[in-house]
């Protein structure tokens, strides 16, 4: 029980504490929010200025009568109202009035009428164009393509450069990014592979750690403690040191470019064995003796009594094993042939997806979000086991 302090100073401290906690939480959560938001944006939406945390889609109109089918709606800085882009392939020309006093004018490419006289201004033909009902002499500076815009409520169409218009945007997440990245970028296969490898590694680790941990904790055999020290010692060896011997071993076994190479070496976990041993040691031996007297075999005791009591430890072990297997990158990079998409893993595929030649930023983020969802779910699920009562609750 905690005693709540009172008074203005305590209130100030508490408010300050919460403010600080919220600030840190926001700082930590922000990149995550950006990733999720980007994963649902269109590629064109990612680099808009000002940047937006909310995915926004361009507003479109469909109207069968006016032959509009998902046409984009634009705003013009100098015109009122909303305009629908009817055709974006109108040939345009930019005319510069002779003399240079007036602004350039953009008109349909064939708008200008060539003057009868052959006038040459800096080697350019001179056209007579109509500006506000007045015929003006101008040179054609540039030929381009423009858009044919129509007011959203119908009316006279105008021709304008598309770049002069800004598309209207509204909230619109693009969920298609996810199936797209899964189907087009081989993420689906990688996801399946990663899931398979991870589940196999986690189950394997749990089973071997339970068996090993129990033996080290409770079965008296010759040299037990020496073997255990050796086992513990192996935790001290960094993985990078093991890569070459392990690779050679995989070569001997002909397991290179094979998912087995990602599973078998990792189902034996010295750390997990240690964790389970420590937990089993903490379970009062009387509980086990009671089960022995009840006629249970060692095997039965292990699975019916010890394992259910060790759930918090198993949840911890499973979570760590899951995260490790799910996020492992270097060993798969070494052992899996990058040219073989059938054996791709999430981490590998994501790395290629976000590589030099990547243009689909939204798809990279969609892939990242897919990759990080399972670990988050696993963590949330396992969390309640971490806080579960310890095994001694049946005593005294």
């Amino acid at each position: 029980m905690s005693v709540r302090r009172k008074g203005p100073r305590a209130t100030f401290v508490r408010v300050g504490t919460y403010a600080l906690l919220i600030a840190v939480a926001a700082l930590v959560v922000f990149p995550f929010i950006v990733a999720v938001s980007t994963s649902m944006k269109r590629n064109s939406d990612i680099f808009t200025y000002p940047p937006s945390l909310v995915p926004r889609a361009e507003v479109t109109v469909s109207d069968a009568e006016r032959a509009l089918d998902g046409n984009t709606v634009y705003d013009f800085a100098e015109r009122d109202g909303s305009w629908v882009l009817v055709d974006d392939d109108i040939p345009l020309a930019v005319f510069a009035p002779v003399g240079g006093q007036a602004d350039d004018v953009t008109l349909a490419a064939d708008a200008g009428e060539r003057t009868g006289d052959i006038m040459v201004v800096d080697g350019e033909d001179v056209f007579l164009i109509d500006v506000d009902g007045e015929a003006v002499e101008a040179t054609r500076v540039r030929l381009t393509v423009g858009g044919l815009f129509e007011p959203i409520d119908g009316g006279d169409q105008i021709v304008e450069l598309v770049s002069a218009a800004t598309p209207q945007r509204e909230f619109g997440p693009r969920f298609e990014n996810f199936p797209q990245v899964v189907n087009e970028k081989n993420l689906g296969r990688s996801l399946t592979n990663t899931l398979l490898v991870t589940i196999a590694v986690v189950i394997g680790q749990i089973v071997t750690s339970i068996l090993g941990g129990y033996a080290f904790a409770r079965i008296d055999f010759k040299g037990r403690d020496k073997i255990f020290m050796l086992y513990l010692g192996s935790v001290m060896i960094p993985f990078v040191v093991l890569i070459i011997p392990l690779f050679q071993l995989m070569l001997q076994l002909d397991w290179t470019d094979n998912l087995v190479a990602l599973i078998i070496p990792f189902v034996f976990s010295a750390y997990g064995t240690f964790l389970m041993r420590q937990f089993f040691l903490g379970i009062p031996s009387e509980i086990e003796e009671a089960a022995l007297l009840d006629g249970a075999s060692r095997w039965k005791i292990l699975w019916r009594v010890m394992v259910p009591l060790a759930r918090p430890a198993i949840a911890a072990l499973a979570t760590f094993g899951f995260l490790y297997a799910w996020n492992s990158f270097f060993w798969p990079l070494v052992i899996i042939n990058s040219g073989n998409p059938d054996n791709g893993l999430l981490t590998l595929t994501l790395a290629t997806l976000g590589g030099r030649s990547s243009t689909d930023t939204n798809l990279v983020f969609a892939g990242a979000v897919i990759a990080m969802t399972p670990p988050i779910l696993v963590f949330l699920f396992a969390q309640r086991y971490f806080v579960e009562n310890s095994a001694t609750s049946g005593l005294k």
Binding site: A290, L293, G295, G394, L395
Partner: protein, 389 residues
């Protein structure tokens, strides 16, 4: 139900002394046997050997006609209640009680009935679906008992099952266990360090010290005829007063001298302990239970059976008063160990406690005259602790 017999059973831990030293003991079929002794005396080890949780170093252990030395615990058809109950925390009361049946692959329907019968016997019916953590200490204790009785084993083993309960519940459970055992008629081996439990519960009590069996006898006999100095000192509360005294025999009259006191023994004492007559001029241990004292005016005794002492402390218990006094004699020890664990080995005197009638008001520092009922007293050899019978 079966008898249990230890013949020459010893337990030696690696590089240690013997925890149990050639124990010879037969526990009869249906008997309630209590193992009692100070901590580390080997009583729990003996029980655990019987349970099969400790290997037997030497000797032979039988349950019924079968030698069980190498039989695993599950095959011995015994059930045990542990000091901390050792319930399976993740199982409900029903599953806890039924686990042994599940292991033995008892028919589900039959098992259900057996569990419910056991639960009813122990008043646990309404708690069957609860987890142990939702139970009180006394209820957990009963679940542990239920787990033991559901299989109707040949022998019940109990390792200090009441020591985690509060005093009131302990008294209640004590009588419950006695009644249960009487009702089931199953052989029971009960380990305790509490002599009140030992005295009240057992048909017979085995007193152990440092792995050696001191005496096996019904409680009353243990109290009245202790087989040695250790049993005399251990059984009884407050414990027996032991005073080293010089003995003289003059014409068949035995006189003890300790500190400034001289006490003539009543004829009854010599009758019960004829060995006294052969000890002229030697030292004996004079053992008086607290109730062997009375205030001089209360009983009719001669002056030479009265000692005058100064009261160190008087505890009024209601029906009686416990008077503490110190005699100027070195305290008694066995094999260099103090008999009374509370005694101060550095103290010069021997503390005696007398139990006198509660009608008297005794004040600290007062000098009182205590009459000694020497015909009830005990006498031991100071070297080997044997009674001088």
């Amino acid at each position: 139900m079966s008898a249990v017999s230890f013949s020459g059973v010893s337990k030696r831990y690696k590089d240690g002394p013997k925890a149990v030293d050639s124990l010879d003991l037969t526990i009869n079929d249906g008997e309630f046997m209590v193992f009692v002794g100070p901590s580390g005396c080997g009583k729990s080890t003996a029980l655990r050997m019987l349970a099969g949780l400790e290997e037997i170093t030497e000797g032979e252990l039988r349950i019924g006609d079968q030698v069980v030395n190498d039989l695993p615990p599950g095959d011995r058809d015994i059930a045990m209640v542990f000091q901390n109950y050792a319930l399976y925390p993740h199982m409900t009361v029903r599953e806890n009680i039924g686990f042994a049946l599940e292991v033995a692959k008892v028919d589900k329907k039959q098992a259900k009935k057996m569990i419910e019968d056991a639960a009813e016997l122990l008043g646990l019916t309404e708690y069957l679906e609860r987890l142990p953590k939702a139970l009180s200490g006394g209820q957990r204790q009963r679940v542990a008992m239920g787990r033991a009785i559901v299989r109707s084993p040949q022998v019940f083993l109990m390792d200090e099952p009441l020591s985690n309960l509060d005093a009131k519940l302990r008294v209640q459970m004590r009588s419950d266990i006695i009644q249960l055992q009487a009702r089931l008629g199953t052989t029971m081996v009960y380990v305790t360090h509490d002599q009140v439990e030992a005295m009240t519960m057992g048909h017979r009590v085995a007193v152990l010290r440092a792995g050696v069996l001191q005496q096996v006898a019904p409680p009353q006999k243990l109290y009245l005829e202790p087989a040695n100095l250790f049993v005399a000192a251990f059984i009884g509360s407050p414990s027996m007063n032991l005073v080293a005294s010089d003995l003289t025999v003059d014409n068949g009259v035995v006189t003890l001298a300790f500190a400034e006191h001289r006490v003539r023994l009543a004829a009854g004492a010599v009758e019960r302990y004829p060995g006294l007559l052969e000890r002229n001029g030697s030292e004996v241990i004079f053992g008086m239970r607290p109730e062997h004292f009375a205030l001089a005016g209360d009983i009719d005794v001669d002056d030479d059976q009265i000692i005058e002492v100064q009261v160190d402390l008087a505890e009024a218990m209601g029906a009686e008063v416990h008077v503490h006094a110190t005699l100027d004699v070195p305290p008694v020890s066995i094999d260099g160990e103090m008999i009374d664990p509370d005694a101060d080995s550095q103290a010069d005197g021997t503390r005696v406690i007398a139990r006198i009638d509660g009608i008297h008001v005794v004040a600290m520092g007062q000098r009182i005259r205590l009459a000694l009922k020497t015909h009830l007293a005990h006498f031991f050899d100071p070297t080997d602790g044997r009674p001088l019978r």
